[in-house]
């Protein structure tokens, strides 16, 4: 326990100091925080609950659009803003920007949670691959439909309010970094807290055998919906921050980007190891470093690499980094290993 406390404290200190140690990588670090949030929250469904969702991107995109719309709509007419596109006829004062951002992030987190609660009963009744394809359809449908709605920019996109001219050149990056870092800390604390309760055991019971869990008297549907709502909350929050960070929202390429973010979150969680607390975090970090390297040096071939990476990870590495570590050093994970038994198993192989 004490060792963990030191670990957490050092990570927190490192996180707070990171933008000053690596000033050139502030944007990358913010994106990393968002990716970790997405991977960790996907893991609630995919890893712990056994519901492999491709649809968490829905909440991410919803949060992104909502945050930007609220931020603009609080002070200016939204339709005129999107119509003017890149040319800024309206300018936020610093106070308006921060108030709008705060209100926008609250809405971006709360509304997807409510949406998840409303659709949860219908969607989470599906199982296995029906659930996977249904959520895939949800994400793509949201992208296609939002690309046809005029007030949020339709096909030409939505420019989020530019960062006001305060605090020097570095202020924008630092602001968004701390936003995403605090969202990450909040997500981590919440998820760690709920994983230490009976809730996690129920989720695992649902994953292992839902019918038996129900026969044991657990209201599985209630817990599934709660799990999805927790995911939706943080996905929406991450989306809102990411919208401000990118500065431009397009329906299918930025917000409901099933081909990138929607797959990334699944891939990161699997790469790190599904069903563990630290797996998705490690997976997201490794993936982000790999992705940035590849996107920089092999521009144009990145989706080819992504496709190959998905196939290779899924076929040869489905247990992920944590699963591999667990097999190699089971003692570290608190598993009692009988040496004779282990040897016997090795011989059997």
């Amino acid at each position: 326990m004490k060792k963990n406390l030191i670990l957490y404290a050092s990570i927190l200190v490192f996180g707070l100091a990171a933008p000053f140690i690596f000033p050139a990588f502030k944007v990358q670090l913010s994106i990393l925080c968002v990716l970790i949030i997405l991977a960790v929250t996907w893991n609630i469904q995919g890893g712990e609950m056994g519901y492999n969702s491709f649809g968490n991107i829905l909440f991410y995109g919803l949060g992104m659009y909502l945050c930007a719309s609220v931020q603009v709509g609080m002070f200016f007419p939204l339709a005129e803003w999107t119509e003017s596109g890149g040319e800024k006829t309206f300018v936020h004062t610093p106070a308006q920007f921060f108030q709008g951002m705060a209100a926008g992030l609250v809405v971006a987190a709360v509304v997807p949670t409510i949406v998840a609660g409303l659709i949860g009963y219908s969607i989470l009744g599906l199982r296995g691959h029906y659930f996977a394809i249904c959520t895939l359809g949800l994400g793509v449908a949201a992208g296609e439909i939002s690309g046809g709605i005029e007030i949020i920019g339709a096909g030409q996109g939505f420019t989020t309010p530019p960062f006001p001219n305060v605090g020097g050149l570095e202020a924008r990056g630092e602001f968004f970094y701390f936003c995403s870092f605090f969202a990450l800390v909040l997500a981590f604390i919440t998820i760690r807290a709920i994983y230490s309760t009976r809730f996690k055991l129920i989720l695992n019971a649902i994953r292992d055998n839902e019918d038996k869990a129900e026969a044991m008297g657990i209201e599985t549907m209630k817990y599934k919906i709660i799990g999805w709502m927790v995911s939706a909350f943080f996905c929406g929050l991450a989306g809102g921050i990411m919208g401000g960070l990118v500065g431009y929202i397009d329906s299918t390429d930025v917000a409901f980007d099933g081909r990138e973010m929607g797959v990334f979150m699944v891939l990161m969680a699997i790469l790190g190891g599904k069903g563990t607390l630290w797996g998705p975090i490690i997976g997201a970090t490794v993936f982000h470093i790999f992705k940035e390297g590849f996107w920089t040096f092999f521009l144009g071939w990145q989706y080819v690499a992504l496709g190959v990476l998905i196939v290779v990870i899924v076929i040869y590495f489905p247990e992920g980094i944590m699963g591999w570590l667990r097999e190699k050093y089971p003692e570290r994970f608190g598993e009692v290993v009988d040496e004779a038994d282990r040897k016997a198993q090795v011989e059997l192989k």
Partner: protein, 297 residues
Amino acid sequence: MDFMVFQYPMITVQACLDGILLGVLFALIAYGMALQWGVMNIINIAQGDLVILGGYIAYFMYLYGIHPAWGVIVSPFIMYFVGVGIYKLVINKVVDRDLFISILATFGISILFMQLMNFAFGADVVLANSGYGTTFLFDSNVVLPNSKIFSAVVSIAFAICLVIYMKKSKLGRAIRATAQNARAAKILGVDTEKVYAATFGINAALCGVAGALISITFTIHPYMGLPYTIRSFMIVIVAGLGNLPGVAMSGMGLGVFEEFADYILGTEFRIGSVFLLLVLILVYRRFKLSRKREYLK
């Protein structure tokens, strides 16, 4: 929103005929999906990308001066080997694993194919001009391109050939046996590995035919694959596995639905309405089954 449909009955006729001709093509793709789903228990997200790849084969024949209708013969041959290749490289490692693994693996293949096609063929929307002219019906109020009629006839012919092949040939019997019980088939001397490879190849060949027809009648583009996958998935779950007349009927139904969505909601919502319909159908089935304490499995 446009309510022309209700004021001019001829538009309704036009949309229905267009939809049925389009739906036959969807049914052909869905038949391939039902085949491999039933036999190998795999949902192939890359189905639509195989279709588009088949379309590019016909398009390239057109570019080199061969009539694109020959693509209907050439494309399935090439696509059969592409399908067997994919099976040997990837699918045979995920056949007996968790279904989600196969969905994710084929999703990876789909992304890979999309991008490779984008590199190889460019990001333009293309079509192969068949030069078949058009047919006018009802005082020129209904316009049907002959290429659409051609594509519907060819797909029906291919579907019938395949059904007969599955019933009569030795391989067809082996495929059906494997679908019923892979273990028993293995005991009785069926090389299931070969059967799986052939099934995936036949599925890819069907996609090739459909793709060649789509490149003649409609347009193709490297990123247009996923909607075809979703459509065929939807048709299969509405019809049920192994229900061929059902696949044909629901394929046509989907085609008509799309044409009407196109007229009423506008073209920009066409793909969105397809995906939304998928969600609605799945949710409807979930509630229908939950009354009997069953679930989709």
